[in-house]
């Protein structure tokens, strides 16, 4: 049996409400909230970035796994907001957690699906018998241009998964990926904010890849939507994943546990992985879970997992996603938000 042996998620404490952003730019807050199905989003603190979020999530993943970090043979962080253009994020993480130096480390990028890439490669290593454990992480502190629709959703957070063959809490039964060159969203070298192709990001990009990937893994597994307790689809906003799920035949009850976007925003590489973590927080042995990510550019990764008897033993060993979403939130005004996000040009010191 191969799959997840430990998982962890990290939700920053800071938030900004959609009203704050709408008021700043003279937009209709209710229209945005209704259009995006989103109340507020997370904001990284002034001392947080993809590396610190990854460390926090991975520390909880290792705790739930209950393993010696030295046994982890590979570590991959998927993100589109690695703090350095040149210098890996993963090296900081392994030294913080006491992993390695006998360890393969790489940073992955693929817009919002870099996290599931990291999970897929980590899983492949343990499935092949190359190493006992591997760590796959999706984390981001994503940016949206001021006033752009993305500013209402681009948020911060991440989740980490220790893959292994001993002590599995969620067996990975099937994987499938669907990829094509579809330029719906991009950021070129040196540009601060990403660009997107407006409505083109919907049908030919998100829905084509998400639905094709989901259908592909259902066909290969021979499973049907009613076989699942939970289903998670990448959450660029509140509407897209619900529509994708409904189109595939999933019910609201199957979708709502992993649908964290209304209170968290789009955590990009951490989005569907954090939805999965929220499902693992509540799943019971034997429950099947489907997750489909999406990364602009474009592609989707799908996984089918089944919770094992060990899962309930580890659920309470670290903070749960929905507890973090509710816990001691600090709401920022727009001025503090842009300062924390580095959107103000300051004098160099």
């Amino acid at each position: 049996m191969h799959g997840i042996v430990g998982y962890g998620a990290y939700v920053p404490r800071f938030r900004i409400k959609a009203e704050q952003i709408a008021n700043q730019w003279g937009a209709d807050a209710d229209a945005f909230k209704k259009g995006l199905l989103l109340e507020e989003k997370t904001v990284p603190g002034p001392d947080e970035d993809t590396i610190t979020i990854s460390v926090a999530a991975a520390r909880d993943a290792v705790t739930r796994a209950g393993i010696d970090p030295q046994l982890i043979g590979a570590c991959y962080i998927g993100s589109e907001s690695h703090p350095y253009a040149v210098k890996p994020s993963g090296t900081v993480l392994i030294d913080a957690l006491g992993i390695g130096p006998d360890c393969h480390v790489a940073d992955f990028e693929f817009a919002c699906k870099a996290g599931t890439e990291a999970m897929y490669v980590a899983y492949s290593h343990v499935k092949s018998g190359e190493m006992p454990y591997a760590l796959g992480i999706g984390a981001d502190t994503s940016q949206g241009a001021p006033g752009d629709a993305l500013e209402y959703t681009a948020s911060a957070g991440g989740s980490a998964f220790v893959m292994g063959s001993e002590g599995v809490v969620a067996e990975i039964l099937h994987t499938y990926s669907f990829t094509s060159d579809t330029p719906d969203f991009w950021r070129r070298e040196g540009e601060f904010y990403p660009r997107h192709a407006g409505r083109f990001t919907g049908e030919p990009a998100y829905f084509h890849h998400v639905l094709s990937s989901c259908q592909g893994i259902l066909d290969r597994s021979g499973m049907k939507p009613e076989d699942f307790r939970y289903a998670v689809f990448h959450m660029p906003n509140g509407k897209f994943p619900l529509r994708a799920g409904k189109t595939m035949g999933f019910t609201k009850e199957q979708l709502e546990q992993g649908w964290v976007v209304n209170l968290m925003g789009n955590t990009y590489s951490g989005s569907s992985p954090t939805g999965l973590a929220a499902c693992l927080d509540e799943a019971k042995p034997g429950d099947n879970i489907l997750i489909t990510s999406f990364g602009s550019g474009a592609g989707s990764d799908s996984f089918i997992l089944r919770a094992t008897d060990r899962l309930p033993e580890v659920q309470g060993l670290a903070p749960k996603v929905r507890d973090q979403l509710a816990d001691r939130r600090i709401h920022l005004d727009y001025g503090k938000y842009v300062a924390y996000r580095g959107k103000i040009r300051m004098n160099e010191v």
């Binding site: 001392d47 947080e48 610190t52 926090a56 703090p83 006491g98 010191v349």
Partner: protein
Amino acid sequence: MITPRYHREIPQRYRLEAGKCTACGEIHFPPRAVCRKCAGREMETIALPRRGKVLTHTTVWIPPAQFEEQKPYVNAVVELENGVKLTCMVCEAPPDEVTIGTEVELVFRRLQHGPAWEVIQYGYKARVIKA
């Protein structure tokens, strides 16, 4: 902080590694070569516990330039569960959330990121777990 010094201090700043005197058991953080209690020279490396409580604190309103964006912030002396005391910044907390006895955990945060041509520096800060 210059890069060689930052690299040298990674074990203590990232993983809270301390030196425990093999002769008398005194714990030194940051680690040191000679025991301050018995002058022993053999040290065992141990990891400090991550939980503790605030012994004393102060709020910084006029910080050094590299911490300007984080002001006002709280600096505290934290006593860890094994009695070791260290000084660090308390992250996220509004100043009125930190008092003597506040329970905290040490978390991994960015300490300085300075100008874009510098190395980003990471290490431990305290985070309130029970206000």
